[in-house]
């Protein structure tokens, strides 16, 4: 049996969830207030994933940096590999929310997307 007690990070409730995966394949989840918590707990037990937020350099905008994030979670252990890719990027103003800065980053199936509109000055 595989089990874990964890704090759900999906919403501010931060439920304390117990998740148990029995050897027969049954999965028991308790402590969650919503279905998203259950989904998170199961994911967290077998393959913990996170989205991360950071910035990329931007030229020609009022700010030197433009904020970005992943559009879907990646395996936790890949976070620093993803950061390395993000740090290589420099974009040009203007930036628009949703612009893809890196497609399929590190082959993980997630895109790095812009989260701030910055005008060209």
């Amino acid at each position: 049996m595989k089990s874990k007690t964890l704090t759900c990070i999906i919403c501010p409730n931060g439920c304390t969830i117990d998740v148990k995966a029995h050897d027969n394949g049954d999965i028991e989840v308790s402590g969650n207030k919503c279905p998203r918590g259950k989904e998170y707990a199961v994911q967290e037990l077998f393959d913990p994933r996170r989205t991360i937020s950071s910035t990329v350099r931007i030229e020609g905008a009022m700010l030197p940096l433009c904020s970005v994030r992943l559009d879907r979670p990646v395996p936790k252990k890949e976070i620093f590999a993803v950061m390395e890719e993000i740090n290589k990027v420099s974009i040009k103003a203007p930036s628009h929310i949703g612009d893809v800065v890196i497609e399929n980053v590190c082959g993980l199936g997630a895109n790095v997307i812009v989260t701030k509109n910055l005008d060209k000055i």
Binding site: T55, V56, R57, L65, N87
Partner: protein, 483 residues
Amino acid sequence: MKTDFDVIIIGGGVVGSAVARELSRYKLGIAVLEKELDVVNGTSGHNTGLLHSGALYEKNSLKMICSMEGNADFDRVAEELDVPFKRCGKLVVGFGDEERERLEKLYQKGLDNGVPGLRMIDHAELKSIEPSADGDFALVVPTAGILCPFTYTIALAENAAMNGAKYFFDHAATGIDRTGDHYTVHTAKGDFTGRWVINCAGLFAYQVSKWLGFGAYEPARVKGEYIILDKRVGKHLIRPVYPTPNIYGDFDVHVTPTIDGNVLVGPTIENIGDKIDYSATQDMIDVLARDGLKMFDYVKREHYIRNYAGVFPTVKNEKGEVEPDFCIQTREDIPNAVNLVGINSPGLTSSLPIARRVVEKIKAQEKLIPNESFDPVRRGIERFAEKSKAEQAELIASDADYGEIFCRCECVTKAEIKKAAHNILGVSTVTGIKYRTRATMGRCQGGYCQTRIAALLQQELGQKKNEIRLKTTGGYMFTGDVK
């Protein structure tokens, strides 16, 4: 770079800068060697900002004479140098017979010294003139006042620089030699030669005194801690309120309004010998909270905005006694040197009178030729916050940067910060901006404006991120770019 001067002043604090300013009335090449990156980083920037009356000091001591002279003169000086100043008077309050006896002694001493306007008042009158103070009786010292010690020191230095004195920051003297008819002052950044050396080194004056061959003084420094209260409570305190001097003749924790509307609680008194220690300690913070509350109801944690410590350059003389008076010394066997030692309180009040005495000592040795272009008037940066709405509108019309508020708490504009960044002394630290504008001095302590100031220093002075200094050479603010 020119390193040969008529006069080398070691130490650019309030006394060194007053000496530089008074000497700049004459045709002299003047160098001020300052170990810090600004003129107010030592004792001159860490004190109570009080204009003393002279009541406290031994009759006819230099402390009495200079402080009374400095006090009498200060309306004119403040006007000339554009220094915020208020002659608000001061109160020394007391309870019970024993304190009354001690306070009466102080009153008599003040009368004897010739301090004008002193009078004892009763509880009712105390309450009527200073409602938040308490006491069975009080001594009113009407000639005392409050001034901005940062602005005053900076104004003296700027006026000296306007009139030709050269300031060298990050230039700590490391030794002095005399060869022929001149002195060589060594610094890590090169030697400076001069016909005269003036020791204005404050906390390090004992060391310079030894190099020059004057008395072997030893440091017996006194540390004082303070808490600064928010301007919100400043309106409740009209003038400084002191307790009756304790049995050793020292004032315990007192409260002083600052010229900008905050309240200072302190200082505590602690002998620290040869140390230089600007750290705040929990013990003293507790003392300030406890004793400060006796003086002023608003000494409460929710009103604290900052705490700091000052170190006063008290020395012991060769007999091992604490030097009670200012020493302004010359000696025939040490030609062309003026030695200032033991310049502690009331040094701020006495700085110009001390400087004039230094000039007299030089004049006794050589004829000084007046500097005909000397201008005693120095104007500070116009402060948006202090103007009427009509004047504010005019300022913005004259310079649009007056319409951009950088520091919310103190209402300091971009125009003021830009001017401060381009100050005549060439001071380029974040703290230098603060001392010249009050930006970051408010309740948010730079939470809103510090990032803007850092950006402005990069833009206006071309500093790289890792070159921006908070206050000192090793006090870097940032490690560089994030990416």
